[in-house]
Every structure is written in C-alpha cells, then in structure tokens.
Amino acid sequence: MSKPDMKINIAGIELKNPVMTASGTFGSGKEYGEYIDLNKLGAIVVKGVSDTPWKGNDSPRIAETYGGMLNSIGLQNPGVETFIKEDLPFLEQYDTKVIVNIVGRTIEEYCEVAERLGDTNIDMVELNISCPNVKEGGVAFGTDPFMVEEVTKAVKKVAKQPLIVKLSPNVTDIVSIAKAAVNGGADALSLINTLLGMVIDIDRREPVLANIVGGLSGPAIKPVAVRMVYEVAKAVDVPIIGMGGIMDGEDAVEFILAGATGVAVGMANFINPTATIDVLSGIEDYMIKYGFNSIEEIRKGLVISDF
C-alpha cells in the first residue's frame, strides 16, 4: 500500500506532516536530535524567546500531578539574539519548518522580537499570549479579547512571517478570544497552553512550586483541549494547531477530528524521547486502517449525529 499523504498547509506554508513540537518542551531541537531524526517532523516549535534574556522563576519549577504535570518555568530564555546566533544555525540544517514562539512583557517587546526574527529565515512566528507563569504580559494579554486583538494586530504589522497566535485555556469563552486573534490578523491559532493549577506538599505544608501556581499539561487536560479545539474550529476559518496531552497517534487523530490541521506534542517528549515520531506513525497507521488519503479528510471526518 502506498503511504498516505500527510502534508498540511498552514498560512501558505507546506508542512510535510502535521506533527510539531509544543513550545518549551523540545528546547531548540538539539537534545532530541540524539533520539530522533528531526527531518521527519512537520515543524519544530522552539521555546519562548524574548527580546532580552529572561531568568525565569525560582525552583522548584516542576510538580507531578495525576496524569500530568505543573511547570512554572517562567519563560527562561537567553533572548532573541542568542537564539539567532546559537540555536537557529542548528535548526537550519534540517529539512523541517521552524516556528519561533515569542514572548514579551509589553506589546513593544513582542514587536521587537517579531521584527528581529523578520531578518531570519524561520518559517513562522507563534505569539505566546498565554503563558500562566509570568506576572506581566503573558497570560494577561491572552484572557481579554480586546488585548488579544491589539497585541495580534501590532505583531502582525511588523512580522514578516505568518503569525500563529497561541491561546490560553484559562478563559470563560475561548471562541471570543479566538475570534479576536483572527480579527487581529492571526494566520493560524494554536491551543491549548497550560491550565493554571497548584499542588501542595501536605507533609511540608507548602506549595510544591516556588511560584505557588503553575501550568498543567499532559493527558489529564486532553478533554479540555479537544473541546476547545472543537469549539474554535467551528467558529473561525484559520487553521488550528491542536495540543494538550497528546501521547500517541490516536490522541493526535482525536484533535484532527475535532478540527485541528496540525498537532503538537508537549509533555509526552519527557516520557518518551521518540514521542513525536511515534505520534506521526500512529496517525499514518490510522489513515491506512481507515483509508484516509489526507489529513484534511480526517479533519472533515467527524460525524455529529442528531440525537
């Protein structure tokens, strides 16, 4: 049997398949290059990059939860210049798309990073307005439709590459946020970022995380993520990159059926360094089993019975 066609198209850019990495869970790809062939990925989404270096939050930054984890990294990163100098040349060796997740404390900071990246040949920019782990910026931009539209507009104006806006799930109405991003000019949406959570060590009687609260990811949040992708896909016309608890190909298919064009693998990388490749072959298996010829076919394949 011939291999199914797994190509997808996001904002005019063709990806060889829908499998990407979730920002912040794959570094800049180097480390996982020891375990998998990076050429096989649809895209590598690198960790959040800011204009100047950010130190991130204090440790502990990680807590385990039932079927998931909390993180409160706080977007530690060496800044966009270091990224361009040290990580980008590595990524450019590979035949995969490079998407850079950008962060900022103010609209100006977001714009600076996007502008600076405009001089490089990365493929897309992912605007992170949904990180729950920083006090300024981050999620503050992501929970109010007006702010979402403003920051999207501003970044879209300066960005040379297509713009993905990454949405926070910690909102009452994800659809209004998604629409605001699209109104602001988003070429695609990615969701979900982490849910805000907290774990208390009952023996020490203190929060496990130094930052007290952190972002919940992993299989525990998958039903929330699938629901949000489904709701947003019905409401907007731009492509969606779905994520949240994807551990295998079947999970990924669930997101595509919910309306996602691409999928991203996050926490699963920590449990299985070849998770991305396993997800990829799992999707392929599903396509072969049910005779799907394209990702688009799966995406349109959900049947809603009229009960």
């Binding site: 869970t25 480390e31 502990p60 930054r61 079927g67 530690q76 299989p219 926490m267 299985n272 360094p273």
Partner: protein, 257 residues
C-alpha cells in the same frame, strides 16, 4: 549512549529501613556511565508520568550491571520498591555530568549525607591516592562496607550516635580536620551548603552534586534549575541540574535561598 532502555531487574533488596538497592542488567549504561551520573526511572503506574532521577551507585562493566540505591519517599520510589527480580523497568540514561576527576589531586574527601552517599561509591573506585569518606546518617549507615572495600578510610557520623561519631557530618569534618585537595559531596541541600562553607574556610576545592525536581532530565524543559554563577560572570544564571550538573563547583552555587 544516553538512550531509553528496558533492562531487567536482577536484584532488589532492602538494605536499611526504607532504603533499597536495585541492580539492573544494562550493558550499555554500565559500559559508558561516569561516576556522579544518574538515570531516569519510569514508573509502571500511568498516572505517575514523570521519570524519577536516581544516581548511579555503582556499575560493573564486565557484568554489564548497574546498581542503584534509593529511599522510598513517595509514590514513585514506593512503586520501584514493589518491583521484583525479573521485572523490566524503563530507564533513560546515563544522564548528567559526573564528578570531575583532576590530575594532581592526592587526598580526596568524599562527604556524603544519607541517600547522597550512593554516587560516592562508584566515584571512590576511580580515585587514585588517599580517599577519606565522611558519611553522615540519621541513624542507620548504608554502603559503608562497600566504600571500605574500595579502599576509602571511613568516618561515620550518626545524629543519634547509633554508629560512629554522634553529630552531623560537618561536626565530624571539624573534628577530624583533614586537609584534602578536593571534596566531592552529595546529600541534602543544607549539608551541601555547610560543606561548601567548610571547604571555602579551608581553601579546599569542592564539588557538590545537587538535586532539583526534574521533568525531562535531558536539558530541554528548564525545570531543574539552580542559581549558578560561574567564575568571571557578573550575575548568576539559572542553570540546569540535569545537563549542566548535577555536579557543580561549590563556589559557583548561589546558596542564599
């Protein structure tokens, strides 16, 4: 090479109250691991997704075996303790950087506290010259016989005076006042901090093996950082225990947390 392996457990035994040693058949890790490195152990329970980092206590390259010694402190380690000889376990490793073994160092001082002692065992086998092992425990010493066999001079402290000197390992260091060329230390953070100060006061260089909660173990998640200020740097950076460490030079660690 650092990779995922599914070795068989060839020995599992309780060596002290709540402390277990587990031997794995894993030629690849045994063949390449350096003293001070660790491996990530995965739980069979799928609700516990994150791996648990455990130091390599000892390897046998000939037999291809890896020995771990761990304390049962929570669900993950509790789950490991229920595994039996013949069971398989998922591991990733070897991970991290080991202790630095420098030439020209003649008097080595190992300083271990409780469940920090295990990585010192493999280390002791690689050191040439005199090796002193200062070992502090709450009540029950572990691995003392092994370290002795490998030629270390043993100095034990227990908090309740059960065995050896009554007090903590710093008091023991004070009392013996041996002036080594290098300290290699692993144990709870307050102990490492005290060792670091002790070493500084006497002008002895010290390496400390740090712990931090981890997710990936391979340097991508930025979950396991400690404040480290390298020589010549103006300000500290959050550096990764998993790949920049777990062993750091004591004078580079910002202890004031």
């Amino acid at each position: 090479m650092k990779k995922l392996y599914y070795p068989t457990i060839i020995e599992q035994k309780q060596i002290a109250q709540g402390i277990f040693s587990m031997k794995l058949q894993c030629d690849e890790i045994a063949g390449t691991a350096l003293p001070g490195q660790f491996i990530n152990l995965y739980c069979k329970e799928h609700e516990l997704l994150l791996p648990r980092p455990i130091s390599i206590c000892e390897t046998d390259k000939q037999k291809g075996t890896v020995m771990l010694v761990y304390a049962v402190v929570g669900r993950g380690t509790e789950s490991f303790s229920r595994l039996q000889k013949g069971d398989m376990i998922k591991v990733l490793g070897p991970l991290g950087n080991g202790f630095k073994i420098e030439k020209g160092v003649n008097i080595h001082m190992l300083v271990g506290g409780g469940i920090g002692v295990p990585p010192l065992v493999e280390l002791s086998k690689h050191l040439k010259g005199e090796v002193y092992a200062f070992l502090g425990f709450a009540h029950n010493p572990i691995l003392v016989g092994k370290l002795k066999n490998y030629g270390a001079k043993i100095l034990v402290a227990t908090e309740d005076g059960n065995v050896g000197f009554k007090g903590n390992v710093i008091e023991l260091l004070d009392k013996k006042d041996i002036k080594g060329d290098m300290i290699y230390s692993c144990g709870p953070k307050p102990m490492l901090k005290a060792v670091s100060e002790w070493a500084k006061g006497r002008g002895i260089r010290a390496q400390v093996s740090m712990e931090e909660r981890m997710a990936c173990g391979i340097g991508v998640c930025m979950g396991c950082t400690r404040k480290i200020k390298k020589k010549g740097e103006k300000d500290w950076q959050n550096r990764k225990v998993c790949t920049d460490g777990p062993v750091f030079w004591s004078e580079e660690v910002i202890w004031d947390e």
